[in-house]
Symmetry: D2
Subunit: 318 residues, 4 copies
């Protein structure tokens, strides 16, 4: 049996070094280290890479991590909640603010502030969002898919750090399966009162299933569970394939029977994930675990790229 | 200050009596007792009553509680996940089985069993579901809303204990905002390959917002958070009104910033819930707290109805 | 495979009937029903019955449930935190109050109120506690065990609903393994400044291990984990025996590796619980699950006693 | 209002840099960054520094982090569970192994392996522990405190990375308030059958209260709650002082009313923590958050030390 190595902390150590030390520890540390190992495999191999995103990740400051992953070609399919896209669009011209979770919510309302735990959003940014949406929502006769609507929106966002814009630039399909459930849905409906906008509720199903069919090997990073998790997994379910690598970052635990906390092993019984897939669930706040996993994996990819370059000249092996 | 009354247990005591005792206790017991008090107010007053349902409540055995609430006219609007509807339809002809959470999931797959924590579902029931869906999914030229599609499905389900059928019989609108995210979505897409079925992604928004506009006073019971919670709350947001009574049963806690665990107070800052609304969140497994709340509230309603009847003699009307 | 029976709610149904319905459901409902089945077996058979209690159960209103279990001879060994005993003693002359979890804690301090989530305690009750303790703490030359000190304290508490007094009356040993960690510890130390009080830190170990040795078969109910859980389990560990029945009510889940959320299966690997023991963990707030389990079990015991009585006449056995 | 800065990930970034980026984010990331800020203040100022440790931190690989903190004089008082000390002693001659949480626990038992979530411990290491304990447990006539017993044990452990040995070397008092609740307690009791060992259950109370009295300003890091948390906080309670800085790393949340998840604000109502103290609770697995906090804080201390050195030359002050 492999032994636990008591972790050593060095001042100034890199995130990758910390995660390296965690790989010989128990509990959450070990799970997070395993996530890094799987993610490195996923990003350095020939996998169709899914990223699903739930929870208020953009308001909490995770937007650039996602758009960078897209721009670095580490995401082939993005499945995301409408709320995260709303906040992505708001960040393209406005901002979120740092507040307090113990606030007087009635007072906040009268000040025109909406609270997301310890993040505040001002009404003026929502108004900006609504104006922008009415300007950039498509006006076309033909019925389109939700994914196509996302692409059309992304194309009109100026901020290159935007998730939607980055996905548009890199031709990464963005699926938002609970389309009516967000301010985008509300704005789209308002828009249809005066403009032509027709989105087929089921067209996305075909598009994502096609991607699943075509994937040779596939990996998935699930941040926060919810509808995006299920939509990605069920799309693989109807193909003869299943995910080969899977990482789940969640605060939910399995015992209440909900999907967001369901183990990835459970998904094996459905055929969504391969019986011999390498997979891990990291329990905890994704605003901590997601940046750590990405930082450590990027560090490793950089190092292995560097190693390859170094050895190119004389062909010596490592 | 009111004092804590140490709880007394009587063998054979009713659920309502237990909840009565809990109302003088601390922690979760008190929250659950408060939920009963709010629910009694909601069901005995003139409120538009929303019920939102997330989590695998039907596989876990909560289906008849929901359909009974509908048939007793305790639900005016139902917002629900596609998965719960899939399992509701399966229950109309098939069944779920009791399994073990520690199962070998690869072995289950090879036996044709899909696992939802400790509940098993056999492939044959999924096949039955698919066949039924292809038979009962609508075949019509005009574009319809998701709600209308739910009504059309409900009308063709024979089992009167079905949630969908009960809602159809009682004219209760059923909203499923993440329509493509479930086996209903998959089947609907397959169906469109050979039949005419066109569902507008945003039509539901108008329908639920109209209900919110028309509501004089409104109450909401949120089971499990997720998309149904947000869809109901955001629909009220765009009206000048807000919810007057709110109950949330959830396993999530607020600290991770996700919507499912967000306090109802947070919803006050958004204007979704009224600043002077009576509201409570009960933290815990809804397969325990939901039946308890319903049983205790039904008991109270029965008693107060009985009291009213008792006074019929002296000319008071009912 | 056994099928899930969709639960039916009847207004006025007893807690036992509700739990009966839960036994055919999934998730937490089923776990709680299993706890009732195990507890009925434990209380109606020849088992040495351990009860361990952590978490602020007395402030939350669970005191009489515990003292009734003791007086009904359903507890042979009680392992408990000092805090619960402090609050048990306070309840014998004073009270706890219902407060709000969102209070201004600095303001509470200046008003002389200490908060335990939504339960308030006034400084005057702490002062009453201190005075009482200085009066009833033993003054004797010989070194005693913690258990003996608990017995001496219990004998001097007048309130018969007190846990300590009930245990004293029924000769149930009370172990408080973290003795210095509570206001009893602080008062005991103050007491030793002027009186004779000598408690051997390890004497309790022998006393509880002796009980474990003598037990033929044994069952344990663990409320809330913590030190009481471990102290009871480790005492069995050093004997050739192990627990035959075990119930755990906890809000902790296993994934963080802590003892309070550790599965009872994990305890099997240590030899604390028998490999063929019947055991279950119910995840959730014990102020809800503990009263439910006790109420349903008492109802079943009553019914089976009644059945036995009914059949006494014709001599048929049960 | 300060705005959320969307986090930027750089390959190879240090843990301190990551935490710096987190300080402008929401949710858990921000809490963890605040913990680093408080810890830096605590370690660079004139504070009496308490560290309390619950949960199986040593089996999970956190031992050297703790002993390094002690050796670097970042700990003035250690309050710890007996279990962590048992595993510290085992690490001084043996080891823990990496296992699987889904193991067959009955099979493990028959192989002589005890499981702590995903960490395994072999019976041979327990036997080694028992032999060592019987050799190094004190044999003296006079009654001692638990703290003194810990010191005597620490003095005989050879491994300098041991927590107990480090504390002994640096004269850091170690309090283990639930002394009988661990294998140390069991071994101590066995020892008393043949040797002289008398530990006063309450002597530690005086010793820690004296430290609290003498502290000018004090800070506390609470890992995992439990008895160590309460013992440290209650000791401050009986003095006119209270903690000025406080950090809590825990997986428990406040809603169930237990102490381990209780907010530090709640402790303000008791007078344990100062009303104007700076404090934060980080929710999550401490095997992730504790190393991150320590690594980032050490990096900052190193940097500020370096800055001071750099400016020494020209006499500018810092």
């Amino acid at each position: 049996m492999e032994t636990v190595h008591q972790m050593e902390i060095e001042p100034g150590m890199s995130v990758g070094a910390l995660l390296g030390a965690m790989s010989h520890c128990g509990f959450g540390a070990r799970r997070l280290a395993e996530a890094v190992a799987i993610y490195e495999t996923m990003l350095s191999g020939d996998f169709t890479k899914f990223l699903t995103l739930s929870g208020a990740m953009v308001p909490a400051g995770m937007r650039n991590i996602v758009s960078d992953l897209i721009r670095k070609e580490h995401v082939d399919v993005l499945v995301i909640t409408g709320a995260n896209l709303v906040h992505d669009i708001i960040e393209s011209f406005g901002c979120h603010c740092l507040g307090k979770p113990e606030s007087d919510d009635a007072a906040l309302r009268s000040q025109g502030i909406s609270r997301i735990y310890d993040v505040f959003l001002r009404d003026e940014d929502f108004i900006g969002f609504e104006e922008l949406m009415q300007r950039i929502l498509p006006d076309r006769a033909e019925t389109i898919s939700g994914r196509e609507m996302m692409r059309l929106l992304g194309a009109q966002i100026e901020d290159k750090r935007s998730i939607l814009r980055s996905a548009c630039d890199l031709d990464v399909p963005v699926f938002c399966p609970a389309l009516p459930d967000s301010m985008i849905g509300l704005q789209a409906w308002l828009h249809t009162q005066t403009k032509k906008l027709s989105v087929d509720a089921f067209a996305d199903v075909k598009e994502i299933v096609d991607i699943c069919y075509e994937a040779k090997r596939s990996g998935i990073v699930i941040v926060g569970g919810g509808v995006p998790k299920n939509f990605a997994l069920q799309s693989m379910l109807v193909t003869p394939k299943s995910f080969d690598l899977a990482i789940q970052l969640t605060t939910d635990t399995p015992e209440n029977g909900g999907l967001s906390g369901a183990t990835l092993s459970e998904a094996v019984s459905w055929g969504k994930i391969s019986a011999d897939a390498r997979h891990v669930t990291v329990y905890g706040d994704a605003t901590i675990t997601f940046p750590m996993m990405v930082a450590a994996t990027m560090e490793r990819l950089e190092k292995s790229r560097f190693k390859v370059c170094e050895t190119d000249g004389d062909g010596s092996k490592y």
